[in-house]
């Protein structure tokens, strides 16, 4: 079902409106009380998509002016109880919406929670850089974005000798004088005296400042209108925001909402919700109100010539391709053709095993004519020990395996438990459960070291959520998450899942981890113990017996948990495409949606259907046509880095790069304390000193965050490659690949071919071969002395290989 039709059901849009391609949004509204108004949008639609905001061009009228009035911009205000119809005329077409007005005579005052706080939030009073700062501002401190109505009420009504509010003369209240600029205000003028904001605050004060009540309805849902549009560059759209309250009422809260764009090169949005399309592609306009979010998708397809043929002919190997091509077609971006065999070989080796294919494999693979050789290659790679090393390394990054805080034997034990899990391809929920519920000796159960690295419930809450949910909860430690639904209450409920763990020293120098019978962490603001609760799971009774960590592990794997599978699917996806469907890979916020929701959903479904088998997920990805696309763009997809139209090149990770240099030169890198020939991706420990790895962005494994690893090139890296000892010594080595080549009878042409195949997994093309054999011949031209000639040739080969190994084709996976 498309989002529009889902939306149609939700808002009861009569899609007969689609027949004449003109709609009013929302299609009906209930205005409850005299203060409520509702803004309507007039949209043209075509082929199931909204295609243009005609609100400014439409003429509005109300059938019964005794019920409601409408302004030229489509804002309807109540006049008296009853029902009527709003009509919008655009050209010769008319669309209608039903209006119901209730409780017009009620004189219910403005609510502190539902009106006053949104005003303060919208005006920026309680933002982090003003009075919402932890220390407040100039002695006036509000809760960040109004998460604590009770606290804010007391601060406004009681502190500062009551000067902030003057009940008898509301206009003398500091909370009006300051933001309206009547007296000096460090934060400047936030609203004018004739604004709705001013009026809400003034009327609330005049009505004896009703305090927030427990039983007051709260916002339960926020909806962005329209949910999706398909536009052209230059078009504009007003996005409006509807709030639904727990008593069923709805209200237009556009004026108090906060807007953002996920891609400003596609669409920009201003603070009133006015969207302007800037370029082609797809962006989500995120709306935030009262800690709830929704989004409106703006698709701006390119005009693709011959699009239907291109997409009909595009290769499909599994459902990934079907879904991805649908997305590409919807935004008019053509896919690149399939990559060459050598590109696929190199890519598959590096992505699945972090290893450069050996030259024999290159030769054999390129000579293989069997049609399914790529699938067979993938299956072979998944059975290699390098696959185990590489993914064990990856999950060791995730779980911060390091001797920085662990003694060496414990570090090894932790590493081995991870490597073993990869080797036996343990389902991901079981992998998580083993870590989260680990108990016993850190030497016999390596996973137990997780509780040595993260010793307190706060750290465990945040690290576990980053590692297994791909979400940062840190904000909620001190206040409700400002842009997410997570509350401080939920945070401390979650922390109490980890509050009953004890560590004691064992006899063999290990640490014994066990569940404890008691121990709770207190909510710092409320001073009470929150019932143990895994985020939005049901809270467990505080008295409940047993290991509370089990509750978390079970919740992780429960079908109601939408985050766990997304997080790992996204991490694995990012390994192959260099960009998560959600990016950054561990930022699964509602305001940071996947670039392709349908694809994410299919992958998650498939992952679950395969019992959370990571290897199966890897295989599915690697055998898709989407993964096998060339990195060379075709006209129309050059600028795309998000929608998988071509393989986006990525710099090799530090460890993979160092190993690739070692393999290409056949000179291993020595690591202190490890046997010769030990590769970087086999290192269990991030503490092994190596300047090359540090310079190229190896993570330190100190905090759980994908941001620890850096693939960003730096000047220091360029200097290291140019002048540093790592690469230069590998080239000079007397036992390495170059030395052997030079000592052999290989002709210049064979030398060039060997270097290319070893480093780039492809033979040189004709032009390259001619040019580079020319360089080698030139180096010795005119030299008589044999020794001199040999030395000059060796140097030239070293220099040629240096140039290959520092080129982008080598440093990047492509």
């Amino acid at each position: 079902m498309s989002r529009i039709s889902v939306f149609a059901l939700l808002l009861g849009v009569a899609f007969s409106a689609r027949a004449d391609d003109l709609s009013i949004l929302p299609s009906s509204a209930v205005l409850d009380g005299p203060k409520v108004s509702q803004r309507f949008l007039v949209e043209t639609a075509s082929g199931g998509f909204f295609t243009g905001d005609q609100t400014a061009n439409a003429r509005f009228s109300i059938d019964d002016p005794r019920i409601a009035t409408v302004s030229v911009d489509g804002t309807v205000s109540p006049v008296g109880d009853g029902a009527t119809v709003l009509r919008a005329k655009f050209g010769d077409r008319i669309a209608t919406s039903t209006i119901t007005v209730k409780n017009f005579a009620s004189n219910e005052p403005w609510s502190f929670k539902n009106h006053v706080l949104p005003v303060l939030t919208r005006a920026g009073c309680n933002m982090g850089s003003c009075h919402g700062a932890a220390a407040g501002k100039n002695g006036f401190r509000l809760t960040l974005r109004g998460y604590g109505p009770e606290v804010d009420y007391d601060v406004l009504s009681r502190q500062a000798l009551g000067r902030r509010i003057n009940k008898t003369a509301p206009e003398e209240s500091l909370m009006l004088l300051k933001p309206s600029g009547a007296i000096e205000h460090g934060g400047g003028v936030r609203f004018s005296e004739d604004s709705l904001e001013y009026r809400v605050l003034a009327e609330w004060i005049a009505s004896a400042m009703p305090r927030p009540r427990e039983d007051e309805p709260g916002v339960v849902k926020v909806t962005a209108v329209p949910p999706a549009v398909r536009f052209r560059p230059g078009q504009t759209q007003q996005v409006t925001v509807q709030a639904t309250y727990s008593d069923g009422r709805t209200a237009d809260v556009t004026r108090w909402a906060k807007f953002g764009s996920t891609d400003e090169t596609v669409a920009k949005v201003d603070e009133s919700g006015q969207v302007k399309v800037e370029g082609r592609g797809e962006a989500a306009i995120t709306v935030w109100f009262a800690s709830l979010v929704d989004r409106s998708t703006i698709s701006v397809p390119s005009e693709l010539k011959d699009g239907s043929r291109i997409f009909a002919e595009a290769v499909r190997r599994n459902p990934i391709d079907e879904i991805n091509l649908k997305k590409l077609a919807s935004i008019g971006i053509p896919p690149s053709p399939e990559c060459t065999d050598s590109a696929f070989l190199r890519r598959a080796y590096l992505d699945a095993t972090g290893t450069l294919p050996p030259i024999e494999v290159v030769t054999a693979f390129l000579a293989d004519v069997s049609p399914d050789k790529r699938v067979k290659l993938v299956d072979r790679l998944l059975q290699t020990s390098e696959y185990i090393d590489y993914w064990a390394y990856k999950w060791s990054d995730l779980l911060l395996v390091s001797s920085k805080k662990l003694p060496p034997n414990a570090m090894w034990s932790f590493y081995r438990s991870i490597r073993n899990a990869v080797e036996t391809n343990v389902p991901w929920d079981e992998f998580a459960r083993r870590v989260i519920t680990a108990r016993g000796s850190t030497l016999s159960n390596g996973a137990a070291n997780y509780f040595v690295l993260h010793r307190d419930p706060i750290d465990l809450t945040e690290s576990s959520s980053m590692a297994f949910l791909g979400m940062s909860l840190t904000c909620a430690r001190c206040h409700n998450h400002p842009m997410e639904k997570w509350t401080q209450d939920q945070y401390y409920g979650m922390a109490n899942l980890f509050s009953r763990v004890t560590l004691k020293d064992g006899e063999r120098g290990e640490v014994i981890v066990s569940p404890a019978p008691d121990g709770d962490i207190v909510h710092p603001r409320k001073g009470i113990v929150m019932a143990p609760q895994a985020l939005d799971a049901k809270p467990a009774p505080i008295e409940s017996r047993g290991d509370r960590r089990e509750l978390f592990a079970s919740w992780l794997a429960s079908p109601e948990n939408p985050y766990f599978d997304r997080a790992i699917v996204n991490r694995v996806w990012r390994n192959f495409f260099g960009r998560g469907l959600i990016e950054p890979e561990d930022d699964l916020r509602a305001t940071n949606p996947p670039s392709d929701e349908a694809l994410m959903n299919w992958l998650v479904g498939d992952f679950r259907a395969h019992n959370r088998d990571v290897k199966s997920l890897v295989r599915t990805i690697m055998t898709s046509a989407t993964y096998a696309r060339s990195s060379d763009p075709v006209p129309g997809n050059e600028a795309d880095t998000k929608f998988l139209s071509h393989y986006v090149v990525k710099r090799l990770p530090a460890e993979v790069l160092l190993d690739a240099l070692s393999r290409a030169t056949d000179v291993p890198t020595p690591f202190g304390g490890y046997p010769s020939g030990w590769r970087s991706i086999q290192l269990p420990d991030a503490q092994v000193a190596n300047a090359f790895l540090s310079s190229f962005g190896r993570p330190e494994r100190v905090s759980t965050c994908s941001c620890e690893r850096s693939a960003e090139p730096s000047v220091a890296q360029a200097l290291n490659l140019a002048n540093g000892e790592t690469l230069n010594q590998k080239l000079r080595d007397e036992k390495g690949a170059i030395a052997r080549l030079v000592a052999s009878t290989a002709s210049d042409a064979v030398v060039v071919e060997t270097l290319y195949k070893s480093a780039l997994s492809r033979p040189p093309d004709e032009a390259e071969r001619n040019r580079l054999t020319g360089v080698l011949a030139e180096a010795t031209a005119g030299l008589k002395d044999a020794k001199e000639t040999a030395a000059a040739r060796r140097q030239a080969i070293e220099d040629l290989y240096w140039a290959i190994l520092t080129g982008k084709e080598f440093l990047f996976n492509h």
Binding site: K405, S472, R477, D587, C707, E712, I804, G807, K808
Partner: protein, 456 residues
Amino acid sequence: MFRVDADRPAHFCDGLTRRDFLHAGSLSLLGLSLPGLQSLKAQAAVPDSDVNCIMLFLVGGPSQLDTWDMKPAAPSEIRGPFRPIDTNVPGIQVSEIFPRLAKIMDKVSVVRSCNHQATAVHDTGHQMMQTGRLFTGGIEHPHIGCVLAKVKGAKGDAPPHVLMPRPIGNTGGGMPHGQSAGYLGKTFDPFVLNADPSAKDFKVPDLLPPEYISAVREQRRKSLRAAIDGSVKAFESSSDARLLDANFQQAYRLMSSKAAREAFDLSSEPDSAKDRYGRTRFGMSCLLARRLIERGVRFVTVNMFETVFNEITWDIHGSAPFSPIECYKNEVGPNFDNAYSALIEDLSKTGLLSKTMVLAFGEFGRTPKINPAGGRDHHPGCWSSLMAGGPIKGGQVVGASDEIGYAPKDRPVSTAEIAATVYQGLGIPLETEMIGPQSRPLRIVDHGVEPIRELF
């Protein structure tokens, strides 16, 4: 296309013949190298609102009571072994271990009320003094010099921020020291010298090719790389690939830039200069810092020590592996006094002092009461910092400690305010926001944190 001869003058695609690639640098397409110090001095006549900064980090934590906040009237177990001396600013006294500083006090101001509330380990103070923040919530804040690098970029060939001689290593806490670009990304990390400028064979590692790569070979490598790398379309749309290219170009610029090479070349400094700075690691680092600032580096961080273990430092616990209090008089004090005063004097002489802030401080102070080992322990409750140069007015004392130097008595100064003061001095608006992890906007200093206005 191009011809390369290994042992003879090289011919290049542009038809030029070059005897020496280092010479080639000044002609190179890439090297818009600065034509030396002469013209630099000429350029200095052009009004330039840029302010540079040299941060001398006195790793270990100097004792306020034995340096810049003497308490001669306190009991002997508090006042310690040293006596105060007068300076050229009436009313300001410093410890007798700084006779040369005493003569230039009119150029230097002391803040005597620095304090922080975090754990009393070295690492927290390192973070807070170099970034203005304590790292919590997994956010690694950027060093002030890295923010400057991000905001203003490089001047000419020189890297915008150089850290020397080496990063601060283990000081016991196992925490980051706040000396990287943190969430700003590696692009803005300081250029780390990783060498001891006082070493006889001092050279910057990786700045120049190893000896076994001749200039001719180096040029051949560069040409080959350019030819092989070609223009593969796949890389054109990748910002990392473009950055890699830019980095190689920047690396080549550095390698071939006369100005950059000269900047790191201490051998051209006269012996008399080296003697004035003191031929120690710190002394030569300060001399090098001056050369770098003269040649376009915007920010130089000099770590006086790399660790506090088994080395004579400011960390005077009194017992091994730490340092005894006497070392202030016979080693650490003179080492600092020589280098610091020579640096201020030189910058002052060339007029650069008015455009270069010079900061000197440690990560905390020391406990007023001398401990049983005859030393003083960690004390973040109160310490002194020196600030000079740029828009900072000299010859002032800001803040005061109580009668035993235990806590600020007047105008306490937080580490965030120190950072705000440095940003203010550098001309970076305090409300500047950086984009942190998860697109979270982070102000360089928190709202409401003020610079030390008295210093401007």
